[in-house]
């Protein structure tokens, strides 16, 4: 029977899993596999498992509960081993690496910050600062060919991308001191930032305050979404 894996923890983790269940319908039962040094939280892997809301939620619920109990390595959703024996063998094989990572993550949580900027505000800035784009804009506004419009749009698209990257780097630099590590990911459409931070649990208030300051300083044209504390998905 294949084994679905949620997380790896140290052997001394309290594993507070009361009231929780695993993926699948009906929900699978959570179990623990142990070696001398490590523990893995697993369940049976249901047939035909997909990334359905119910199952993603179940995965995330297990990880949030484990995170509250101590250092946890969150597995990516949907990871399935051939069976319990193979999971235990993997724990043994990688024991040193897992222990080291657990030590690094101990007492730390992830926050994810997404940010976008009002498009008109950004386009105005681009147009103010580029003569070429401004002139093309005037021309295409009056009449202008299809090619002119494509040329204008391409120039603008390039600027939008470049400025987004610069702003993402800028935000990352300004928040760097408030976190232990950070990790960029692909921003969503219309956004320029998708950045995860690893933050010491004892310093989360200061981190949140730093994000708030950053959001305030950037003004109304920007929108920030901060989510956390989360299991450290981006730092395993």
């Amino acid at each position: 029977m294949p084994t679905y894996i949620y997380a790896i923890t140290g052997a001394d983790h309290p594993l507070p899993l009361g009231g929780l269940h695993g993926v699948g319908d009906p929900p699978s039962e959570l179990r623990t596999l142990r070696t001398d040094l490590l523990a893995a939280v697993v369940s049976e892997a249901p047939d035909g498992l997909r990334a359905k809301r119910r199952d993603v939620m179940a995965h995330q619920n297990v990880l949030e509960a484990l995170m509250a109990g101590g250092a946890t390595l969150p597995m990516r959703f949907g990871l399935v081993g051939p069976g319990d024996d193979e999971v235990v063998a993997a724990l043994d094989r990688e024991a040193d690496a897992y222990r080291e990572r657990l030590a690094q993550l101990d007492g730390r949580v992830e926050y994810n910050l997404k940010a976008g900027r009002d498009e008109d505000d950004l386009l105005r800035e681009i147009m103010t600062e580029s003569d070429e784009i401004r002139q093309l804009n005037e021309r295409t506004r009056a009449r202008g060919s299809h090619d002119d419009r494509v040329a204008l749009g391409e120039l603008v698209a390039r600027e939008v991308t470049a400025r987004g990257q610069r702003e993402a780097e800028d935000v990352a630099a300004r928040l760097a001191d408030a976190a232990t590590h950070s990790s960029h990911a692909e921003p969503a459409p219309q956004q320029f930032l998708n950045l995860s931070f690893l933050v010491p649990r004892a310093e989360t208030d200061a981190f949140v305050a730093a994000v708030r300051r950053e959001a305030e300083e950037r003004g109304d044209a920007y929108s920030f979404t901060l989510t956390g504390p989360l299991p450290p998905y981006s730092f395993v």
Binding site: Q60, A68, V80, A157, G219, L226, T227, G228
Partner: protein, 144 residues
């Protein structure tokens, strides 16, 4: 300024709002073990590919061109370029309750959900009436 603050993805009643924002972390990040398989994420991967293709297409260029043509540069003159203006503007807007976003009272809720507790402080709007939430996704239980 807009800062929507969310405690973790599944606490907060229905849990429907926040999951979307951490979906890619759960599906794309996290540890894997070599030689173990992952379930199919077919539909989700297609969505992501679509996003990337669209960024560099003629359709996108034409949309940008149209957006630029539509812009009223004159009224945009006061567009933010200086930090001090921004902050002043932001404060005023906030005081009028015009701020389009939400700064939620979730800060306090953070530490509670961290402990796995679910006590709900009284449902009084906290401190910041001017910034009362307008976004639907934050985690004020009972509202969702």
């Amino acid at each position: 300024m807009t800062l929507v603050q969310q405690s973790n993805a599944t606490s907060g009643g229905s849990g429907s709002g926040n999951l979307y924002d951490v979906l890619e972390l759960i599906l794309d990040r996290g540890l894997v073990i070599d030689a173990f398989v992952r379930v199919s994420l077919v539909g989700i991967e297609i969505l992501k590919i679509d996003v990337r293709v669209v960024v560099a297409s003629v359709d996108t260029y034409l949309r940008f061109a149209e957006a630029c043509n539509r812009l009223d540069l004159e009224s945009g003159r006061k567009a933010p370029s200086q930090l001090t203006d921004l902050v002043g503007d932001m404060t005023e807007n906030g005081a009028k309750g015009k701020s389009k976003g939400a700064l939620t009272g979730a800060v306090e809720a953070f530490s509670e959900s961290l402990q796995g507790k679910r006590e709900e402080p009284e449902e009084e709007p906290r401190k910041r009436p001017a910034r009362k939430s307008t976004a639907g996704r934050q985690s004020q239980r009972g509202e969702e």
